[in-house]
């Protein structure tokens, strides 16, 4: 989770990723951010996020994102 938060903070240091859960809905993360996050996740956790998982539900909060990462690690 720590590494993930670092990735997110690296993109938008002003955002409180611990609590915010409307990252996509409020357009805090745009499509560029999402791609960057995915490539960073790929580097950090060695999981590939498939395109069909790029849905608001998975990216709206750091927690949801971490759940996704764990789920993908599990499937591996």
């Amino acid at each position: 989770m720590e590494a993930l938060l670092e990735i997110l903070k690296g993109l938008h240091p002003e955002v409180d990723f611990e609590t915010c859960d409307t990252l996509v809905d409020d357009k805090i993360l745009d499509s560029f951010d999402i791609i960057t996050i995915i490539t960073e996740i790929n580097t950090e956790y060695d999981v590939a996020v498939p395109a069909e998982e790029i849905i608001p539900e998975n990216f709206n909060s750091a927690e949801a994102l971490y759940d996704l990462v764990e789920r993908l690690q599990d499937e591996d």
């Binding site: 499509s31 560029f32 999402i34 791609i35 790929n42 580097t43 069909e52």
Partner: protein
């Protein structure tokens, strides 16, 4: 059938009347019949193409769902007896099967689109490079092929990704592909959004009829009074570009921007309005795009369904696909983190804009237009830290005049690159825009030059008023539905507004002999 034609109005009236006369569960069938009649009107032989896409997609999607259901059933049954490795291998092999169907269907349909639309473009380029004399094929394009193909492929990919099961009923699926209000120029609908509202029975609700007709009238107003009128001037300006340089090119940018906006949003208003009269809800395609402060915002507000389609089905898949991730890792190793993290984003963006340009038309004009959009996006991305510093220092963001500056900047920038739509070729377009800065003929605005473009002073007056009305409606729309606000007004006020709207559309519309009747821009798309 053009939206702005007598035959279409007749067709609509008949459809509306029949729709609420037939038993509710047959309404979607009526829509299907009407859609095919509408499509056949453009040429009976074209039906073959839309049928091919419909049938192939319907069938492939069903096969894919079958395999997915098979997989789910198998895994459930053998939950206990299989280990993780085995499950993984089984899923992979099933995935391979569905992938085959998906690829085959895409190849067939995108291939068909590519051949019909781009063969002559390819030939002309080959002729240009290799000095050959290949003859052009002059394939006639089926109406709306770019739209319905993309809409169908979106559906196919959704089913492939197991977002929802395939539609079993071929007729129902055929309606999704061919639904007549949207087949010409979108919006490009998602199956999960459209299917519910499209197939379910609809009882006659006054609000739908009233709001739908209002929206249709508003769309006709924009197209007939503003767009078709401006088209006369734009045509004069671009048909003899040598005569009209410098300040005239500024006029082209301005006129064409408004004309395209009025025409396209007008057409979409008609589309969504028609659907609403049927009780069917279509997605919005525009959200006051000229209020955008930067290019990214612009592309979230202009041709929304196209933007999201390219994002979901091209941008994301490409950016996260294995070879892109590998490329990204490699470039990170070779060029360092800064460049490495830009590679997937920019490469994917470039591909998206190349294909977006290509999708708009089989000519270098559109491709260059796409890449110019890409360039502006990259530049604005790279300039962000600079902007941040600037805003930290000067605290102008949010101020009205700064907002106005951003809006105007975006309007003129987007308008300038759009003129690749209207000039004959890329070099000419660049030359014309360049002449804005090199040709000093601003006095032309005041010496009657604009009176020789086919429009009279009363025409310009109508255009100014029309633009102001559009602006007013947009401004009002920011805080809620305009039609809701109108509905809250007393009856005499409401009806007066309708009356004026309808009469001004009929009187001031640039239709009939004496005006250049224009083909709807996206018709043969």
């Amino acid at each position: 059938m053009l939206f702005t034609s007598y035959s279409f109005i007749l067709f609509l009236t008949v459809m509306f009347l029949l729709y609420y006369a037939v038993p509710k569960k047959c309404q979607w069938m009526l829509l299907l019949a009407g859609s095919y009649c509408f499509y056949a009107y453009s040429g009976i032989h074209f039906l073959a193409f839309i049928l091919l896409t419909t049938v192939s997609t319907w069938y492939s999607a069903r096969r894919i769902t079958r395999i997915q259901e098979q997989q789910a059933a198998y895994l459930k049954e053998h939950k206990a007896s299989l280990d993780k490795e085995q499950k993984k291998r089984y899923k992979a092999s099933m995935k391979k099967k569905t992938k085959r169907w998906m690829l085959a269907c895409i190849l067939l349909n995108i291939g068909l689109l590519a051949v019909l639309k781009y063969t002559d473009f390819v030939i002309s380029n080959i002729n240009g490079i290799f000095h050959t004399g290949l003859t052009f094929m002059n394939f006639a394009l089926p109406m709306g092929i770019s739209f319905y193909t993309f809409q169908s492929m979106g559906y196919l990919l959704d089913v492939y990704r197991a977002k929802y099961p395939a539609q079993e009923n071929a007729a129902k699926f055929a309606l999704f592909v061919s639904f007549f209000p949207q087949v010409i120029q979108g919006p490009i609908s998602r199956y999960n959004d459209l299917s519910g509202t499209l197939y379910e029975p609809h009882s006659l609700e006054w609000r739908n009829i009233s709001y739908g007709i209002q929206r249709i009238c508003w769309g006709f107003f924009k197209k007939l009074v503003i767009a078709d009128r401006l088209l006369v001037a734009v045509k004069s300006l671009v048909s003899t570009p040598d005569e009209y340089m410098g300040v005239y090119v500024v006029l082209v940018i301005l006129f064409y921007a408004i004309e395209l906006y009025a025409d396209f949003t007008g057409g979409i208003d008609i589309t969504i309005g028609i659907a609403q009269v049927f009780g069917v809800k279509l997605a919005e395609n525009f959200e006051r795009p000229f209020f955008s402060k930067n290019i990214t915002e612009y592309w979230r507000r202009w041709h929304i369904t196209m933007g999201t389609w390219f994002k979901d089905y091209i941008f994301y898949p490409i950016s996260v696909c294995p070879w892109m991730l590998r490329l990204s890792k490699k470039s990170r190793e070779v060029f360092g983190k800064a460049i490495g993290k830009r590679v997937p984003v920019y490469l994917a963006t470039a591909i998206v804009w190349f294909t977006t340009g290509l999708w708009h038309g089989a000519s270098w004009n559109f491709i260059v237009w796409g890449m110019l959009n890409f360039l502006v996006i990259v530049i604005s991305q790279e300039l962000e830290p600079l902007y941040a510093k600037f805003h930290n220092r000067f605290h102008v963001s949010g101020k009205t005049w700064y907002n106005a500056f951003q809006i105007l900047r975006t309007f003129w920038l987007m308008g300038a690159i759009r003129i690749l739509d209207v000039y004959r070729d890329v070099p000419l377009s660049f030359r014309q825009v360049g002449s804005i800065f090199t040709t000093a003929n601003w006095n032309e605005l005041f010496n009657g030059g604009v009176m020789r473009l086919g429009l009279t002073m009363p025409d310009y007056l109508v255009l100014v008023l029309g633009a102001l009305v559009m602006l007013a409606v947009s401004l009002a729309g920011r805080s809620g539905s305009v039609r809701d606000k109108l509905a809250a007004k007393p009856v005499p006020v409401r009806y007066l507004v309708y009356y004026v709207l309808i009469l001004s559309m009929l009187v001031l519309g640039a239709y009939g002999i004496g005006y250049d009747s224009s083909q709807f821009i996206y018709n043969q798309f």
